[in-house]
Symmetry: C2
Subunit: 428 residues, 2 copies
């Protein structure tokens, strides 16, 4: 049997053993192999009808009454409680709203303030941030540092334990690296941060919905994440903020909007923060996007996160196997760790002509994305990606790589290849 | 002719002369008199179809490609330019996104930083804020003051000129008071702020879409506003930020998310702010809500803001006339200024049993809202409220007031009547 034949045979075995295969029908999909769910999740099939009801009936007919009658006012906490089991959090600790960037600001300023209350020793005036993080986290961390009188220390996650000390106020880390797909050691790094007396903030954008996070179990202090990747909430759907229960009454938000007031309709001139997760709210919640997200989260009914993780690893293992079989050695180098405990739910391949390669892949119905300067990113959403998709993606990739003159493209001089705006996915 | 007969006759004259009467058909309305458009605007008729296209085709079929092909990425600036003519701003100065509260934070911190660059004299370390403002502005101003080393001075708008000085960094004012409907003197107060060398920030939530604002003409520095009131963008639709063109290259946002980077897809570790209005962006834009707003703004096609203002004043004049004719003197006191130049597009009536009165009004198909402690609020959206609505609202109000024992309710002791959660509209 040829290599292709062997792998095709393995596909049928793997697909037959896929206990999540029926979940795919909960999504709107076509004959494209969609490996960009780590940027924008596919549309759950029942979302359009729910959005239509929100627009036509809740807004159009009930209008202002929907703030109570349609549960608009309580949506941020209610939807937070739907996300909670997916990230290992008990109820009442997550609130939905605002963008990830805004939530990073709330979390990081809040973390510095927490680190400065009730702790002995010198003033804590350093924020440690993952230097390899998605850029917005670094930019916002810089602003948070500036506005709290801190110095920012960007280091790699591996360097974090070595730089922690009694000056460290807060540490902001990504659970999964958006480029390489590397999964960082959340339990170990959180422990190290706590041993230094600092506060741990995790960005779950690339892990929530793809693997178990265990926020409560591992004692994470604060966390943020988006909902439009593995949670399929729709383009730019609202992000969320987790504040561990024991810290909630000391959480001091830099964005104390009226929605976070203990009595929002008291219209009082003085600010008194609400109890619980609501303290993380800011302004009026964005109802259309929020209720689309609420509907989207129903695809998780009866889906154990453990099964998602098992399938995710099987998908990425199989993709690496197919790539190794189909693509000539040296033509595209995997940046994604081989060890399961260090792998998220994506595979990143480096090749010098990645922008052009991705363009051709998309033309042939294999959708991943391109990240500067030379990375092909393939995200594997276990809820709707199957093993046949994986084999086809690797096969088409091999075809494209055979056509594109990798050597020539590799001759582009310098270490910072020119930008190729607009080639590939968006939104991290 | 009876009073009712005379006013009914006047209705037909006024409705016959209403040059905006045909605009009403652009909205989904029923037989309710909807006077709560100052809290949540009615649904424009073509919005549901557009939202369905965004969900089913743009998200469901094109998926990640829509960031370019459906214009998602450029929506914040494009929609800002649709709002611009409604508030007297030239193109390229408004960006849509985030909540009003988050934009107040950006604007006010940005204003303090502007006030501290390139100006002689002592360090400017005071923020003046409208003490009668919608509470979130006060709460966020307090946070902005704390994080920029300023002192907060809450005063009434009338007191503003008297407290300005060489310590004043920024002044945050509401164009129209959310309770009383009083319109403040934007040109005069902005001039006074500038004469003191400070930066003027205006909150347009209750004026944009109801009356001319003249941001450019009056030299306003920064402004924010929501889009779900007179702009009919839908529940919690994204807010906007205006930064005057000459200040844009010095605008220094406290929320420098990746969307505001000069090269957002360069994924660079160092932050370089974008030019122009884009500098006010933060994270990934909330596409469903944003594109619903874009569709909603089409109801303004061919509608001059001057005509809207003229009709708004005619509506509120007529409402006050009908209330005076129908409601016994002393039963409900108007808090809304008689002078046109001091009136927004709402009428606020104070009566001691306002919560119960509004409940009964809503039961009878006249929807306004109740604001603590004793205010009935009626908003008049000239695009879809007619003069027959106005007469009916006043007539039903008189009926309800005749039934509800105002005297008894008025005997509730003290100056701070108990809260009545859940009675009335939401979201300011």
């Amino acid at each position: 049997m040829s290599e292709t034949g062997e792998l095709a045979f393995k596909v049928s075995e793997l697909d037959a053993g896929d206990e999540l295969s029926s979940v795919r029908s909960r999504f709107v999909l076509d004959d494209v192999v969609y490996l960009d769910g780590n940027s924008l999740g596919a549309l759950p099939a029942h979302v359009p009808g729910r959005v239509e009801d929100v627009v036509r009936r809740q807004w159009g007919e009930l209008r202002i009454r929907s703030w109570e009658e349609s549960g608009w006012w309580t949506a941020p906490e209610r939807i937070g409680d739907l996300i909670a089991p997916l990230v290992g959090a008990g109820a009442g600790q997550i609130v939905v709203g605002d963008s990830t960037s805004v939530n990073v600001f709330k979390a990081l300023v809040g973390a510095v303030r927490l680190a400065r209350t009730g702790r002995a020793g010198p003033v804590r005036d350093e924020i440690v941030v993952d230097a390899t993080t998605f850029p917005t986290d670094g930019y916002i961390a810089e602003s948070a540092a500036r506005m709290t009188g801190c110095t920012l220390r960007p280091v790699t996650p591996a360097q974090v334990p070595g730089v922690l000390g009694d000056r460290t106020a807060a540490v902001l880390l990504n659970h999964v690296d958006y480029r390489t797909g590397r999964l960082h050691d959340l339990p170990g790094l959180t422990s190290a941060v706590h041993a230094a007396g600092a506060v741990a903030v995790w960005d779950l954008c690339h892990s929530a919905g793809a693997l178990p996070v265990g926020l409560d179990e591992h004692g994470v202090d604060l966390a943020v994440g988006c909902t439009y990747k593995y949670l399929n909430g729709g383009p730019g759907s609202p992000a969320y903020l987790y504040v561990r229960r024991e810290l909630q009454d000391r959480f001091d938000s830099p964005l104390p909007g009226w929605n976070s007031h203990a009595e929002p309709f008291g219209m009082r001139p003085d600010y008194t923060p609400a109890e619980g997760a609501s303290r993380g709210r800011v302004g009026t919640p964005d109802i259309l996007s929020m209720l689309a997200l609420e509907a989207a989260l129903e695809v998780w009914d009866g889906v154990p996160v453990g099964s998602v993780r098992a399938k995710s690893l099987a998908l990425t293992d199989f993709f690496l196997e197919c790539v190794a079989a189909y693509v000539p050695a040296g033509r595209a180098e995997s940046l994604t760790p081989v060890a399961h405990e260090e792998r998220g739910s994506q595979v990143a391949l480096r090749c010098p002509d990645a922008g052009e390669v991705m363009r051709r892949l998309i033309e042939r119905g294999v959708v991943g994305d391109f990240r500067q300067p030379d990375i092909l990113r393939f995200g594997f959403t276990p809820l709707y990606v199957g093993f046949a998709d994986v084999e086809r993606a690797a096969r088409v990739l091999a075809e494209v790589l055979a056509e594109v003159p990798g050597e020539a493209a590799a001759q582009v001089p310098g270490e910072a290849p020119g930008e190729t705006p607009g080639s590939g996915g968006r939104a991290g």
